[in-house]
């Protein structure tokens, strides 16, 4: 950002390009953007108490959210004022643009501005890191019992549909329909999915974010829901902790000759997959949270939980693990605030169970796994900002000391 230093130049003499450029690189836009970010963060922090963290983050900071209407708006005569705010993603994008144009391109270049320039680069790097994390990071969790091994994490939110062929009782290759192709298939919408090497297609419709298969004998359908083999999908209000939602949908098989099967239910809340037969080939169709295979195995040797005396406040959770890759074992420890970073993945100690386990009872450890290409960018950007500020401070201090010295010399 560069303060306008050419105040004598009449605005009407500028080209339209210049006016837009001045606006986008100006202090005013930076100030408004920062205030908006402050407001959005404050409103989101309050709103997530009732609506949960994940949906609130999506509402306020997703790239899909151009604008939003906050829950906390003033009311007049019992009616909420229609207050519209820009989405946080786009406010950050505008701030990034402003910082590039004003804080890097337009800024006066000289020895005295080096510190500012470094700090601005740091902020730009931080904003870019946020964008990269938003678009390219993945999160999941892995629960491993003591003495057991896991090579897979499970997504917190995304439900997928998987089709796999069963050969000798085993499934080796799972075809995965990602959640982004399902979530828009609400009532009345459907989509057909073809799979390479699978002799049928799937037509999926009626996606519900949170639903359970209910028996019509237990509770007859109240909203004219479609009943399949005695069951229908009963919609449940979304959970505040959205990872507890159980998605569901209706599907039907389409044979190569175009024949459609009777519809069937696919749901996250199921114990077994649906089995279908095509000739002498057998396939399973299932809906579940997306599995995310790891490039190595994690074996949990021991899990230790220490609490502050007389409280349930955790003092220390420690997982002693063995990372197994290509037959090679590495002994490691993952604890609170001391994650394992390896091959672009970060394993955080997230939770454990069973809660209230007695001494000697087998326990399991839960790791949160994050793959974020910009994992360390905020840290590096903070170093850059701090270094830039230090340079600015030292430059100013040097200038001040030099001026004072010259002043004393002149006075003497």
């Amino acid at each position: 950002m560069e303060k306008k230093n050419n105040t004598t130049r009449p605005d009407h003499g500028k080209s339209p390009f210049r006016k837009v450029y001045d606006f986008l690189s100006g202090f005013h836009l930076a100030t408004v953007s920062l205030l908006l970010l402050l407001l959005l963060t404050w409103l989101a922090t309050l709103e997530q108490i009732d609506h949960g963290l994940y949906p609130t983050l999506n509402k306020y900071f997703s790239w899909k959210s151009w604008y939003l209407i906050p829950d906390m708006v003033p009311e007049i005569n019992g009616k909420k004022l229609p207050v519209f705010l820009p989405g946080g993603y786009y406010v950050c994008a505008v701030l990034l643009l402003n910082m590039i144009l004003g804080g890097i391109i337009r800024i006066r270049k000289g020895p005295k501005q080096i510190g500012n320039l470094i700090s601005h680069f740091g902020i730009v790097f931080m904003l870019l890191g946020g964008g990269v994390a938003h678009h390219f990071s993945e999160r999941g969790n892995m629960a491993v019992s003591e003495g057991e091994t896991s090579n897979v994490a499970e997504d917190y939110h995304e439900y997928v549909v998987e089709v796999a062929e069963v050969t000798d009782g085993k499934r080796e290759k799972f075809h995965v329909v990602r959640g982004k192709h399902l979530t828009d298939l609400e009532a009345g919408k459907s989509r057909i999915f073809d799979f390479r090497g699978i002799p049928f297609s799937l037509e999926i419709s009626g996606y519900l974010v949170n639903a359970v298969p209910s028996s019509e004998l237990e509770r007859p359908p109240r909203n004219n829901e479609r009943t399949v083999d005695g069951y229908y999908l009963e919609r449940i209000p979304g959970e505040v902790e959205t990872e507890r939602n159980m998605a569901a949908c209706y599907a039907r098989m389409i044979s190569k000759d175009g024949t459609k099967s009777e519809p069937f239910i696919l749901a996250g809340a199921t114990f077994h997959p649906l089995t279908v037969r095509d000739g002498d080939r057998i396939f399973t169709i299932d809906m579940r949270k997306r599995l995310w295979p790891m490039p190595f195995e994690v074996k949990l040797d021991t899990f230790t939980a220490d609490f502050h005396p007389g409280t349930s406040r955790p003092a220390k959770f420690v997982s002693d693990i063995r990372r197994v890759e290509n037959g090679q074992e590495s002994k490691l420890t993952i604890s609170m605030n001391e994650p394992m970073r390896y091959e672009g993945l970060t394993f955080f100690q997230a939770s454990y169970g069973p809660q209230g386990a007695k001494p000697g009872e087998p326990m399991y450890s839960v790791f949160e796994i994050v793959k974020n290409p910009a994992d360390k960018w905020p840290e590096y950007s903070l170093y850059a900002v701090a270094f830039g500020m230090l340079v600015t401070f030292l430059t100013k201090l040097g200038g001040h000391l030099g001026a004072s010295s010259r002043k004393r010399k002149n006075e003497s």
């Binding site: 090579n151 009782g169 499934r171 990602r178 073809d194 390479r196 298969p213 028996s215 077994h272 399973t284």
Partner: protein
């Protein structure tokens, strides 16, 4: 000289250079605004993981959604009984009237133990040997079982509060070394009205295993 937007080409390119970060950012800000197709080919696959156990093939809807095992007992309930999903300790499970329920259980212990367990639920003392021997016998699952009746305040013993004005009718038999119980509980009038249906249902019961 070629002009673009009133500017010479070089001046125009200079302006465009200035605005190139804006253009780049706008391109970044409009990611994948695609219209989703009505039909698509799924390319993503994954390999088997430690979470993929051998699947239970050809599971029924009850098994898929309730993890229910096929009942070892089969019966032909009266039309006015509502079939409920089986659950733990209830191999067959029905509802009738306003609050009546009937269910079949494979229990442990002896016939006498189970008769007295039912008696305790109505606050009754255990039956004496003579009273036990005097119980009426009726056909059930290819053998004979004892017909049990009780009425009064019913406490199921499952943590639910005791309910007055209840009645019980049921049959307990030893079948193939196992204790088969058929129990009907509900409001007195409703149970009284269904006693004959219960007896007919008991006679038609079959142990599949």
């Amino acid at each position: 000289m070629i002009e673009l937007a009133g500017l010479g080409v070089r001046a125009y390119l200079r302006k465009m250079k200035t605005f190139s970060p804006i253009i780049a950012l706008v391109c970044l800000m409009i990611p994948a605004c695609e219209k989703k197709a009505a039909r698509m080919t799924v390319e993503e696959t994954r390999k088997e993981t430690t979470k993929d156990h051998s699947p239970k093939l050809f599971a029924s809807s009850d098994e898929r959604f309730r993890n229910a095992k096929p009942s070892p007992v089969k019966g032909n309930p009266p039309e006015n009984w509502l079939v409920l999903p089986a659950k733990e300790f209830r191999e067959l499970n029905y509802r009738f009237g306003e609050s009546g329920e009937a269910y079949v259980t494979l229990a442990s212990g002896s016939v006498g133990d189970n008769v007295n367990r039912w008696m305790r639920q109505f606050g009754r003392d255990p039956l004496t040997t003579a009273e036990m021997a005097a119980l009426v016998k009726i056909p059930i699952a290819g053998t004979e079982g004892v017909w049990v009746e009780a009425a009064g305040e019913y406490a199921s013993g499952m943590g639910a509060p005791a309910k007055p004005g209840q009645a019980l009718a049921g049959v307990i038999a030893e079948v193939g070394g196992r204790i088969l119980t058929l129990k009907m509980v509900g409001a007195e009038a409703e149970v009284a009205a269904e006693k004959e249906a219960l007896k007919a249902f008991a006679a038609g019961l079959q142990l599949v295993e």
